[in-house]
Chain length 577, copies 2
Amino acid sequence: MSKILRINTRTKEFHFEELGKYLGLGGRALTSRIVLDEVPATAHALSAANKLVAAAGVLTGTIVANSGRVSLGAKSPLTGTIKESNSGGQFAQKLAKLGILAIVLEDKPEADAPFTNIIITKDGVKFEAADELIGLGTYASMDKILAKYGPKTGTMLIGPAGETCRMAASVQFSDPEGRPSRAAGRGGLGAVMGSKKVKAIVLDDAGCGMLPAADPEKFKAAAKRWAQILLGHPVTGQGLPAFGTAILVNIINEAGALPTKNFREGRFEHAAAISGEAIAETITKRGGKVKHGCHTGCVIQCSQEYVDKQGKYLTSGFEYETVWAFGADTLIKDLDDIAMLDRTCDDMGMDTIDLGNALAMAMEAGIVPWGDGKAAVKLLQRVGDKNDSLGRIMGNGTGFAAQAFGVDRVPVVKNQALPAYDPRSVKGIGVTYCTTTQGADHTAGYAVCQNILKVGGDVSPTGKEGQIEISKNLQIATAAVDSLGLCLFVAFAVLDNADGVPCIADLVAALTGKPYTVDDVVALGVACLKDEIAFNTAAGFTAKDDQLPDFFRTEKLMPHGTTWDFTAEEMQAAKVS
Amino acid sequence: MSKILRINTRTKEFHFEELGKYLGLGGRALTSRIVLDEVPATAHALSAANKLVAAAGVLTGTIVANSGRVSLGAKSPLTGTIKESNSGGQFAQKLAKLGILAIVLEDKPEADAPFTNIIITKDGVKFEAADELIGLGTYASMDKILAKYGPKTGTMLIGPAGETCRMAASVQFSDPEGRPSRAAGRGGLGAVMGSKKVKAIVLDDAGCGMLPAADPEKFKAAAKRWAQILLGHPVTGQGLPAFGTAILVNIINEAGALPTKNFREGRFEHAAAISGEAIAETITKRGGKVKHGCHTGCVIQCSQEYVDKQGKYLTSGFEYETVWAFGADTLIKDLDDIAMLDRTCDDMGMDTIDLGNALAMAMEAGIVPWGDGKAAVKLLQRVGDKNDSLGRIMGNGTGFAAQAFGVDRVPVVKNQALPAYDPRSVKGIGVTYCTTTQGADHTAGYAVCQNILKVGGDVSPTGKEGQIEISKNLQIATAAVDSLGLCLFVAFAVLDNADGVPCIADLVAALTGKPYTVDDVVALGVACLKDEIAFNTAAGFTAKDDQLPDFFRTEKLMPHGTTWDFTAEEMQAAKVS
């Protein structure tokens, strides 16, 4: 039976704990339950009272395709809400195989204490000085980590942004090649890790095997069914492997919902130049890789290896939202500049969505010219200098940068920057931005499915009808998926396949040897959301916080001429109760 | 009859308006009513939808002693609440004498539009380019304004902090000598003025007389009674004229409530060196002025002219809270350094309380050593360089600086920094910090009276009993005083004199020619608070926001060993309903 590993970051004491009351949970459901139960909702997010939880999902550590997501949870310094941010990479599978369902980082060292690396093997937990990594980007840090601990280790680590507790700091995760290209980007959890003076957690699962299933035959059969469901859907089986998530650039631009120049327009004249098709063409021409899996066991392979003009690796996990944030939203049209901005965020350990929007704030204020990718890269690199005050500002994200620069056009909900879909023209996702427990977040209830992609239903994107229902159902499904340790992209296939959720239930039942039904999957998601809402309520959030900035109401978005017309009260029905 | 002057800052159109539904209001009651009625509660504070209201009080422009306060109101960029911040200086009396009860600055120019000065005389309103003042400190700006518009004008203006929309930017007001030493400091209203691209409003009341009273004889008699009430009380008649408000340094230190080193201790070992007594001695020795009135008609004269070693003027309005913020809270013990920090805030146009606390945040982060006054002055002067990012950070106040520096010990309520009384040892003021509509603010309900000074009652400062009642009653009384245009210090005398409030009622009745009773005074305060609560509720504030940071609960304050032990819910009774 997997255990919870509690680590006191001040005293360097640790112990393994039975799951106890947390039995049956995993991933997001587990991180959120622990945060709700153990972190005072009014605590400062960077104080000793906060905890950073890293959890494997219910299905992680097994042969189940795309089950390698790791959930990070804490009170967010960016939003003040509870936060779960999950990531691919090698960490989750190795964690589960080490017999650890979750690591809980507790307390915090004195302000002048040195940083520590935590090394976990089947033989135990070691603390080592992190001095030689401090101030380094995550790429250089990973080189040293791989050299020291071996190429088969899996690592979560922070960059300079996290070390200095910037509110938009990510936690990065190593991919199968040992590159820190995967991120739990949103909500500043890297700052929480930095406040606890932990630079990296390195997992070495040598000598550990897959988690054993209670019913191996049934489990194997269900896992095979599961892989076929994923491979059989046009999005997960064809679209994502061929073009990655940036396939959405042209689609969302065509839909008139690609936020351009800080959400002023719904179409970007240079969309084609930064599209998934253009990325794939560029990669192919230069000899990079169009397909790449972020973790062992991924059958979707939406990632890639984007290379520069000389064919040298530049970045992976070059997502649609990143391409948008550093492209259309800031009017940058040079793909290499955008790729360099993505790499810079991974290297400094920062969320690309909040940094892209923060860059737009800097452009609004004239700090950097609109569309100037080279200047943008230089600006973001400044976050790496801990004494650079402009770097401090940028590293703290969109809302903070807007305040620093006196900008009043600030696309945030609960201080988290809006992602790549204008809510005036994709209203289902707008409902999610407003009502999710996480601050503006597209992954929390990806209504782009029904609004634009026509996966799992067909709801007109510009009207109000049906949006609350699809957002609510997707929020529940997402919470379940995030708790199981599954990649969210499985949802495309699951929404369109009647056997999707039953197959998931069969997987859990065969793994645990206990009955598990479709209703249990739904209940897992609902319970998770209830926990998160309870925390946020205790922290002081109300319906009034579930709203977009006023300019979405007052400014029409072209080409459709739509405005945001939901009241906060209307949308409350999108939240579980 | 006085009028409201509305100015569109984008189109430069203006018009005078009858009071209409605003008849009977003045000062804070008027600014808050206008903001409630006309500013959307969810608007961005720096957007065109916000309005900046400058209002004279009900009794302003008359012979009534200490009736020269001006109220500024808007939605606060610092707190997100409604905000009223009032100031002495010459502005209010001249405004009233010009027949203007309030100026309402509306809309906002384009981001690249130049700044304007607004000149108001009995003949009308003129807009003039402010180019030659931009980037200048308020002292240098005032020199040019006096040279151009004459020494008898009265001015409200912003410094570089306001021009660049820093969230802790004040609006400064000229005193009888034409120095910009008076401030509406709190809540960042200077940023609102800056967002509207107005550098200064200059009033020339040449040719205008006092406001006529409906019953001149009764008015004159009541005004005489009023002056005698003020002069007859030991605080307003003796203590404040002799030592200014800094007389409190030794008193609050003795009470164990002088927050020291970012609220770690209740006593400062160098309190005597920065006390009102030390200030008076220094001024006397150097040939400055111990007594000084901030506006014509002040009989209390709590201000002073603090001079440097060469006897040259350095600052006025050198208040207890400023001395504390730049003294005990940051461990600076050199009075000249503290005076220079006060002057720097006045010159840059920044709130001393928020900047003092922000300086403590910088010290927590090691940006400046604790106690280093010279380095502190240099740091604050950086706010004057609009491109200096460390200046941007400091100018945005305590909460912002803490986030920029990753500090988790942040003494704010609703993002406004705590003033000079530790709420663990003066619990009545703690109730006010939490429950006032304004964010942490001592003036909104100065329970130090009953807790420490034993004026208007005697309530033990360290217990819970009686605190809610005194805070509530003081909040109502203060709202009335702020609406009448009276200096808050009249409260010392009024609380101890049974004829205090009746005399105020008689003054209003004789001025307006309509019946006005003690109940009407109370009703004025209650209505004002209700308006403010209504705005804040619409903006999304709840009881959860009425609370101190967690460290006040968890850390005992020495020497009394007290913690903050009110729940947010308990304190709701301190709010009018």
